[in-house]
């Protein structure tokens, strides 16, 4: 009798917990925080392998310098030889592209692909889902052995390139495993899959590998792998057109 009573009381106590709402806004903030290094400067080297149908895979290596507190970044392409020296500089809302063959720095956008890869400039910026999107709906699913929250997002501003985004976030640590980017009309345009292997930096777990699949240009995809990552103070001169021209 006592045992039954104890179980009953415990169940009553747990009852509210079972019905407690998951704070998805907080989960989104957690996702954003994974790539937010505050006032620290971020440097990383990425290896990008791009595959396209009927073409040989292309290997690219880029170096990324990022200063989130001033919303700046520099991407310098180091390989292949044909694209060595090309780069991107973001200052504020404007992104510039430099090509040593023309010697000119011209404006571009965050949606432009880096080299011939499926990765866009915005893929190297910090996440801003909690600012740029509203949660439309949520559900649960499973990716491999990981239970995930599926968070359906709708763009909160016209700044966002994909009006609808579906984020698949691990329930245990709120790290995204997959992102599906949709057009305004609802068609799937892009899928980003994050491998559950991580690099720990400044108490954050950063996915070491992720794959970007182009769902419009079927068969095109890029696999990105972080080769090196550091948080050391960078010189201000790095975020200048002059550095972009010199960076090799």
């Amino acid at each position: 009798m006592r045992r039954i009573f104890t179980v009953f009381v415990l169940a009553l106590l747990c009852f509210p917990l079972l019905w407690a709402e998951t704070d998805f806004a907080a989960i989104l903030k957690d996702v954003d925080s994974l790539s937010d290094f505050g006032n620290k400067d971020y440097t990383a080297i990425y290896a990008i392998t791009t595959e396209k149908p009927d073409e040989k895979p292309v290997n690219m290596e880029i170096k990324l310098f990022r200063r989130d507190v001033q919303d700046q970044f520099v991407i310098s392409i180091r390989k292949p030889k044909e694209q060595k020296g090309q780069g991107y500089l973001k200052k504020g809302d404007t992104i510039f592209f430099y090509d040593p063959s023309s010697g000119e720095i011209v404006p571009t956008t965050s949606l432009k692909n880096v080299g011939d890869s499926s990765a866009q400039n915005r893929d190297f910026e910090k996440y801003t889902y909690s600012d740029d999107y509203r949660i439309a709906s949520t559900s649960e699913s499973q990716i491999g052995k990981y239970p995930v929250w599926v968070i359906d997002l709708t763009g909160a501003t016209s700044k966002v390139p994909y009006q609808h985004v579906k984020l698949f976030v691990r329930k245990d640590n709120h790290i995204p495993l997959m992102e599906e980017d949709y057009a305004v009309s609802g068609g799937l345009l892009r899928t980003v899959k994050f491998a559950p292997t991580y690099i720990k930096i400044a108490d954050k777990l950063v996915p070491a590998k992720f794959k970007i699949e182009d769902n419009f240009n079927k068969g095109e995809q890029s696999l990105l792998e972080i080769l090196d990552i550091t948080l050391t103070k960078l010189s201000d001169s790095i975020f200048t057109p002059e550095f972009l021209k010199m960076a090799q």
Partner: protein, 437 residues
């Protein structure tokens, strides 16, 4: 009159010399006429091709800036434009309304192509439907299919599509967001040039993909009756529209900056509410078109003068020789009563007639050369297609330039012949008769 007959007879006496000198003049005038003709047609063809590509000689684009500082091209209500057009009294053939996405990604069975998608209201613009040439498909089916597409032959080949196929298209809204659509190929066109290869679709459906409401569009084009009026038309429209709406300044050129880039970037650093209009013409964004033509014409004239200075040396020496050859003849004529002035004129008439014969043959040769060159057909998207007319180089020599060239040739010939002519006139009859050749 006798002098004229004598001059003509003298020219025929030394046929080879006359042919050689006249031939040199003919060659010179042929080169210059062909260059002048090309320069004249160059501007016309360029203007015509740009007018076709951008749907007009004068363009009005509406721009809005949203809270995120993004500029969107949109004309939501064109009543103010129509009023300004009427008040400006610009003489035009027709107007065009266009929506476009210049980075639309068209996909078909794994093949993709980045193209400009241009939305047209086919029922409202019969002039477009009349102009476009289809190699296959049907204009009627295109008009009746809301999701129809006219694709250029070049793009169709690249994608491997034909009439009846369905293509997927990735576009972006006016706010830069990605969108997806589907189109049915209703026709394959020959339309393409170096500027871009446009695919034409129904404006209503494209508007829905770009986030524009039905009836809205992005650029308003005016086809003038006379393209040479584009500067005055642009100025008149600017004046009328400025009285009723916000308008960007037309003088966008700054030292060291490309006019076309300045046109594309206009408004980036400004803030405004509502729609602000940008009025421009081909001459505004491509001032180098007219400059190129002027340079070509100047080069032609320069070449003419340079070549002719060389020919002048030949004429001078030839007439000197003629003078020495005919020294006794001159003495005889002087002894028979011919005055100095008449001797001088005889030489000058000879030179003049030779230059005229050279001119006539030069123009004939130029005509043949221009005919041959203009019969060559260039592929639609060749590097020089923007300067061609229906795939052919055309020529349009200007009357003023031709008259100038004639005056230069005749003038310089007479100048060259004037020295030996004067010397011949100065000869004393007795001394001339005694001269030994």
């Amino acid at each position: 009159m006798e002098i004229v007959k004598l001059a003509l007879r003298n020219l025929l006496r030394q046929k080879r010399r006359t042919v050689l000198l006249g031939g040199a003049i003919a060659f010179c005038i042929m080169i210059v006429t062909v260059i002048d003709g090309f320069a004249g047609a160059f501007v016309d063809n360029l203007n015509a091709n740009f007018a076709d590509a951008f749907a007009g000689h004068v363009y009005i684009i509406g721009k809005e800036k949203n809270a995120d500082k993004k500029i969107a091209d949109v004309i939501r209500n064109d009543a103010v434009i129509m009023t300004a057009l009427e008040d400006s009294k610009v003489s035009y053939k027709y107007i065009s309304k266009r929506t476009s996405d210049d980075e639309a990604n068209i996909s078909y069975q794994g093949r993709t192509s980045l193209q400009t998608l241009t939305g047209i209201d086919f029922k409202e613009e019969p002039h477009f439907t009349d102009r476009v040439v289809l190699t296959s498909g049907s204009k009627e089916e295109m008009k009746s299919d809301p999701q129809g597409m006219l694709i250029s032959k070049q793009v169709g080949s690249k994608l491997g599509v034909g009439v009846g196929d369905k293509v997927a298209v990735q576009t972006r809204t006016i706010n830069g967001q990605y969108n997806l659509g589907e189109f049915n190929i209703r026709g394959v066109t020959t339309d393409s040039n170096m500027l871009f290869t446009a695919c034409y679709v129904q404006m209503k459906y494209l508007n829905s993909l770009l986030g524009l409401a039905p009836g809205e569009y992005q650029s308003f084009g005016i086809y003038l009756n006379n393209p040479n009026d584009m500067d005055s038309a642009g100025a008149a429209l600017f004046k009328e529209l400025s009285d009723h709406a916000q308008v960007f300044p037309r003088d966008i050129s700054k030292k060291g900056t490309n006019a076309f880039v300045a046109f594309l970037n206009q408004g980036k650093n400004d803030t405004w509410k509502g729609t602000k209009y940008q009025i421009t013409t081909i001459n505004d964004i491509l001032p180098q078109v007219q400059q190129t033509s002027n340079i070509l014409k100047a080069v032609g004239t320069g070449m003419l003068i340079l070549l002719f200075i060389i020919i002048m040396v030949g004429i001078l020496n030839t007439f000197r020789i003629i003078m020495f050859e005919r020294i006794r003849e001159i003495g005889t004529m002087r002894a028979l009563g011919m005055q100095r002035k008449e001797v001088r004129n005889l030489f000058l008439f000879e030179a003049g007639f030779m230059s005229i014969v050279g001119l006539i043959f030069g123009f004939l040769l130029a005509g043949i050369v221009m005919l041959v060159i203009s019969s060559i057909t260039f592929p639609p998207a060749s590097d020089i297609s923007i300067a061609l007319k229906a795939g052919h180089i055309t020529f349009l020599p200007s009357v003023a330039q031709t008259i100038l060239n004639i005056l230069i040739v005749v003038g310089l010939t007479l100048v060259a012949a004037s020295i030996p002519a004067r010397n011949a006139a100065k000869l004393e009859p007795a001394a001339a008769l005694r001269a030994v050749r």
